[in-house]
Amino acid sequence: MIGSRWFFGSVLALAMPLAAQAQVIGVPYDDGQRLPPQAPVLPPPPLPVLEGSPYVIYPVRGGTFMISGPSANVLVQVGLDGVLVVDTGPAGDAAGLLREIRRLSPRPIRYILNTNADADHVGGNVGLSGIGQDIGSGNERPDGVQGYGATPTLAHEQVMFRLLEEGASEGLPTLTYFVAQKDIFFNGEPVSLIYAPGHTGGDSLVMLRRSDVIAAGDIYTPDRYPELALDKGGSIAAYLASLNHLIALTIPEFNQQGGTFVVPGHGRLSDEGDIQDYRDMVTFIHDRVKAMVDRGMSLEQVQAARPSQDYDVRYSREAGDRFVAQIYTSLTQPPLADEATLEVPE
């Protein structure tokens, strides 16, 4: 027998380098960007931008997409039942927005949901609802259902009241709610409008439960300071409560990222890791202003102390002064709107 130790030793000497090569061979990742284990599943890359279009379409998860443009973000959900749109951008932009939506689905727009009554969120209601089509009843598929009327528009009743006060006669919500939550079922998943005031008295979060995506409206705007519309029912207390409620609704997949995705009213697609940083900012500035208010400082004195200076470098000093003034007013003056009826869900 050939000396077995020498023979097998030689075989081992040959095999080891070949085994070492094997560990560097991998599989290229597809455009779904699924990363190795211990990393969350991230959204696919954005769609190519149409020539001349100001919009970028960011796939979020499944049939949900964020359309980001020069104004407020729009969340679109597409499926066999049709298209659901959360916020519609400013008036005059509906045609451009519709062109982007048609890249995602040719089906009718069945629902419009508004997170608040701001013009950059509801301006396109008229343009988009007029071409849409309601589902006849229940959860029937559209193939066997005769559509009728314009697309129903859902929002908190405060949105309708505010638009009426502003003299609007069209583009108004057709279905409103005044309790903690309004639920529908569309494209195979529960969709909830969750009352979350703070920016105004009529803000809603929109949660797509199976997609695990939330449209936050102007409760979360990572590219700017919050806007507290105090004359429209906004307040810092309600805003912080709603922001923390949003955090309670989000569940990250791994390492405080991924999992529930959030489409902000303005700014980048986000997850809980982003929202907690924004919540911290608002809380820090609130706490600093409140401490100064408790010491009896005037607004001018508070602004001179610049309690937002570590964030003004991100947004601007002017915006910081305005936000500080809104917090100060919210803390020191009686609410301009009747907040007694505003329920902040726990």
Binding site: V24, V27, G267, R268, Q276, F284, A291, Q309
Partner: protein, 284 residues
């Protein structure tokens, strides 16, 4: 006869060996050598220790109000070190994906300890995403070879920190890294440019030694409420940390030096100590 067989086999073993160019490849398990900035990378910096960092007044203001108790907030507990801080802290495993049809490297990946983040460095020339794409802790990285150096550019990082004592780093920062392999040593140079909180780039170099078979420590993080707080409370020092001067006093360091700023990076600053006006607040 046995010796003859062995001698004949030895050249054949060389057929499976890595080619010579692999000396510039960075794949492997690399054990960190904390010879540089040891205290910061180990136990961590002191509160108020900012010397040698080109921070502005806004960063200083934020850090002086930062509370370490922030780490106990549930949303903060399992945050991994971001891409620009990770090399400071841990050994690393680096591996690559190779297209079996073209044998081109598609991506490198890194995995470090402390919540075990996995980072991807795309080598296939894909562009960075638009501004409103999702940001991650490790960001979006693309790499290219510059001779024997791997140059990596990272954007789209979530807001995080420059140091573990409250110095912030914004989401607009751009990280440029240079991976330089010399034999069994890897030098990892990081250049952080943050237009929000830095007046000049921060440049760090970290050294690693090849240690095949090294196991990155697992860190199974679970979120638990250990400090009961009212809902929404986020700890901070509203009026500034009252002990912010403790570091300077304990080590008898000039206050203007420990407050940081770009001037404190350069040896010429030593000549000016005692003559420098107190650092200005407000980012100016």
């Amino acid at each position: 006869m046995r010796r003859l067989i062995l001698l004949l086999c030895l050249p054949l073993a060389g057929l499976g060996a890595n080619p010579a160019w692999a000396q510039s490849d960075i794949v492997g398990e690399w054990e960190h050598r904390q010879h540089e900035d040891r205290n910061e990378r180990g136990a961590g910096p002191d509160i108020g220790e900012y010397e040698g960092l080109p921070i502005n007044g806004a960063a200083r203001y934020h850090a002086e109000r930062w509370s370490p108790s922030l780490w106990t907030v549930p949303e903060h507990q399992c945050i991994p070190h971001p891409a620009d801080y990770g090399p400071n802290f841990s050994s690393v495993r680096i591996w690559k994906d190779v297209n079996p049809l073209t044998q081109e490297v598609v991506a490198y990946h890194t995995n470090i300890a402390w919540n075990n983040p996995v980072r991807t460095i795309w080598m296939d020339g894909r562009p960075h995403p638009p501004a409103n794409a999702l940001h991650t802790w490790e960001g979006f990285s693309t790499g290219r070879w510059d001779g024997d150096r791997l140059v990596v550019t990272t954007t789209h990082m979530k807001p995080a920190y420059l140091r573990r004592n409250g110095l912030p780093r914004s989401e607009t920062a751009v990280l440029t890294e240079y991976f330089i392999r010399t034999g069994d040593f890897l030098t990892w140079v990081s250049v952080i440019v943050d237009p929000v909180y830095l007046t000049e780039p921060i440049i760090r170099s970290r050294d690693f030694h090849l240690n095949p078979g090294y196991q990155v420590e697992l860190y199974p993080c679970s979120i638990d409420v250990e400090v009961p707080r009212p809902a929404g409370e986020v700890p901070s020092y509203v009026d500034g940390n009252p002990d912010i001067r403790q570091y300077a006093e304990e080590y008898a360091l000039p206050w203007e030096a420990v407050q940081g700023g770009a001037a404190t990076m350069y040896p010429e600053f030593i000549a000016t100590m005692g003559q420098v006006a107190p650092a200005q607040e407000g980012g100016e």
